[in-house]
Symmetry: C2
Subunit: 471 residues, 2 copies
């Protein structure tokens, strides 16, 4: 007899957990739809030719691959075997599990370019799979909720991302959060100001600032060959403070001074083309402006963070990341603008911007802050008790009426002792128990027990569904 | 440049399809919950030790297996390779994709037996995967919706299955359907009446009656070694007609006559133990009785079909199958009672009953009967047009008000020609377009164009969200 188990990093969701997850998903969905995003669903299985090479080497390792059906090993030779897994893989697996929602979205847009109307706003709420080492808050099967617009470079879209985040989190009960914003151009400007190479090295090191602190970042930049002067300059340029607007001004000053220095060293500055840094700062200023024009009242939650890098290299414009401040937890949302997401699928130069909510992290935040309502193990609101065959039968039309009135109800299926039926209602969190014994039936009434208080009322059987709808 | 594609037998669902599928799923969910079924979700990935051996040899072939991560081939020897795929499989894959919702449910119940309160009513709406040959109406990734109760053998549960089916299908707009019912005991009684062995052979042949007709079944039974007399007897016993009740009476008469003949041949009949056939017929009669007591008004949709076998061998009591009569399509729902579903996971003798809706087939039926409402490509109800930067900016607070009033709305993100914006609204099926140019702004009004009729109204800007909520 086997002892059943589930794969590590996966979870069963019982009734109470499904109800809580649904609350989160419905809240996000409502906002996405209010902003005109339309739902898309893509298959769990994607061709490995679509997935491979899109997430870096590490990502390729973390893809779950699905064995070809039938005699999958028929083309594997003993020479392949001696070369190892990498050589064998393409001969035995051509499909994999969805790793994120962005690549399938890009694949969908490229495949349907002829029939889609652009700008195309889509949201997608589906699980993804990663063969990561499971740990607290990290699962192998988890839910993502993405919203993206492609086919426009309007900064309205960035503005709406801030508005959507600012609507969803308070609707979930999360009020203490910070939306960090940066622009890839600011980072590029910083890199240009240094006059050193290795843009990626700089981003990777900066991305760890939260974890390893300024000293750690300095050390890492030194190890990667940045000069002490450059490292000092990085921290000088990044040492901005105050409101979003004040930081903008400080960064503008810092970067333009550096650009001027570089320009005078290299020759006359090209005044017609604004630097990446200036362009990035101008776009951040416009997003702020559009937010104000939209009546956005939560500016204190917005933080311009020039060190925000976000690992993914496909971002080219504004980038976002959201932290819940009163819980120890990684970012619960993030995203940014990309200019060539569908390029890998033969559709170049489609600009888009998108972001994602991490449902599992939101769930953990709500749990940590005790923000979930009392979980119910069932949707049932009324349990009709079952004394004997006659009372069970008499309950059937009542049951039908309650359900027709939209009140989730059940009749305990077997005529067991009343105590056991009440215990059942209690364990499941069913709020109302209806007692319909021979006496009640004779009098045309029903006894209603309110489980939370223990209170009992006797109500006329006629119209009981209306009486309980109002309960 | 690769041409992107999706694996055969899988599908992308665009906005209109998601909306239609959601209509079906929401309708089913509402009924399940009204009947007190609580949601459960299990992982997509299950251990192959849980899945293998539960679906027969053919099912094991159709399981999608997931490669172990890392250096999956490290334990495969060249001797394994020469033995072929079957020998290699257990060394390189220990997980598979969910094949149905029943086995994961049984696994969940067995794993959580200590904390669950029985009877446990759960529903589950999740995709499943089968490496079947794709064809019309058969996909490799498709959605199942199951509801099961375990921990009671009350026939109320069977009754409720009929009630739920009779609620869901009309709610979807499907009014011409037949719910076929049989009982495994009736089939066993038939088999006992024949006095031949090979119960399974008989079930398998009968299961094909719809496809190959009586002559085909006779021929197959002959080939499987049934005597001509037995075959004639099968058809004699099955040749019942009339209402559910009339068929019950005919079957009772036919089976008890046969049992009497067998008993007299074998020795005195054991009068204390009713035969399987009699028990089955009595249960079917009780289900009919409970349906009537529940006020069930659709008896003409109920068909007692003594030839209904349903392939799955785990059924032990009533079995169900539902056909939509005015569409050429396999069954859209089916299920039955089982007495030992969790036995394979170390929890024997738990009786339960369940059934399933096939969402993809329901979708195809609704499409074939043209019962879907006009598909919308977006949830958006109002498109605000964008003439220039100033009008775009002026639209922002209006946009915020519309959304706050719960009206899904968007502002066209770029100031392109009006014609193109109208074309966009048209292609997406957005019903209302709001024009807010310099003149309208000056006058404090907004022009609303109703896309379906082309009609234009001028409404005051103040309170526009209330005016359009009522639209």
């Amino acid at each position: 007899m086997q002892k059943p188990s589930i794969p590590k990093g996966t979870r069963d969701f019982g009734p109470a957990q499904v109800a809580r997850r649904r609350f989160i998903l419905d809240t996000i969905r409502r906002t996405f739809e209010r902003f005109g995003y339309a739902p898309l669903e893509t298959p769990t299985l994607e061709n490995l030719s679509v997935l491979t090479g899109k997430y870096g080497d590490e990502g390729d390792q973390l893809l779950f691959k699905v064995l070809n059906s039938g005699d999958f090993a028929k083309d594997v030779t003993s020479e392949d075997l001696s070369e190892g897994s990498r050589r064998i893989l393409p001969k035995i697996a051509e499909k994999g599990l969805r790793y994120d929602l962005t690549v399938p979205f890009a694949r969908y847009v490229a495949m349907n370019r002829g029939t889609l109307t652009f700008p195309f706003r889509r949201y997608q709420m589906q699980p993804v799979w990663r063969a990561d080492r499971p740990q607290r808050g990290r699962y192998r099967e988890f839910m993502q909720c993405d919203a993206d617009v492609v086919g426009t470079s309007s900064l309205l879209c960035e503005t709406e991302i801030v508005l959507m985040i600012s609507e969803v989190l308070p609707a979930l009960g999360l009020d203490d959060f910070t939306i960090k914003i940066n622009h890839r151009g600011v980072l590029s400007g910083l890199f240009q100001a240094l006059g050193e190479g290795r843009e990626t090295d700089l981003f990777v090191a900066l991305d760890k600032l939260d974890k390893i602190g300024p000293d750690g970042v300095s050390k890492e930049l030194g190890e990667r060959g940045f000069s002490e002067a450059s490292i000092a300059k990085v921290f000088e340029l990044l040492a901005v403070s105050g409101s979003f607007e004040e930081k903008l001004t400080q960064l503008q000053a810092g970067l333009s001074a550096s650009v001027a220095v570089l320009a005078s060293a290299d020759g006359p500055a090209d005044e017609a083309a604004p630097s990446d840094g200036a362009r990035g700062l101008a776009q951040l200023a416009e997003v702020l402006d559009l937010l104000r024009a939209s009546g956005f009242k939560q500016e204190s939650r917005l933080e311009l963070d020039p060190t925000l890098a976000r690992g993914l290299s496909y971002y080219t414009g504004c980038i976002f990341e959201v932290k819940i401040n009163n819980v120890q937890m990684g970012s619960v949302s993030g995203g940014g603008r990309y200019d060539n997401l569908t390029g890998a699928f033969g559709l170049p130069n489609v600009s888009g911007v998108g972001f994602s909510f991490g449902v599992d992290r939101l769930y953990d935040c709500l749990e940590a802050l005790d923000l979930f309502r009392q979980p119910a193990e069932t949707p049932t609101r009324c349990l009709l008790t079952h004394f004997d065959a006659a009372s069970g039968r008499a309950a059937l039309p009542v049951l039908a009426r309650l359900r027709a009135a939209g009140i989730p109800s059940e009749l305990y299926p077997d005529p067991v002792k009343l105590g056991r039926q009440l215990q059942y209602a209690n364990a499941k969190g069913i709020p109302l128990v209806l007692l319909l014994g021979p006496e009640e039936l004779a009098a045309g009434v029903v006894k209603v027990k309110i489980m939370a208080s223990g209170e009992e009322k006797t109500l006329p059987l006629a119209g009981i569904e209306q009486a309980l709808s109002a309960e």
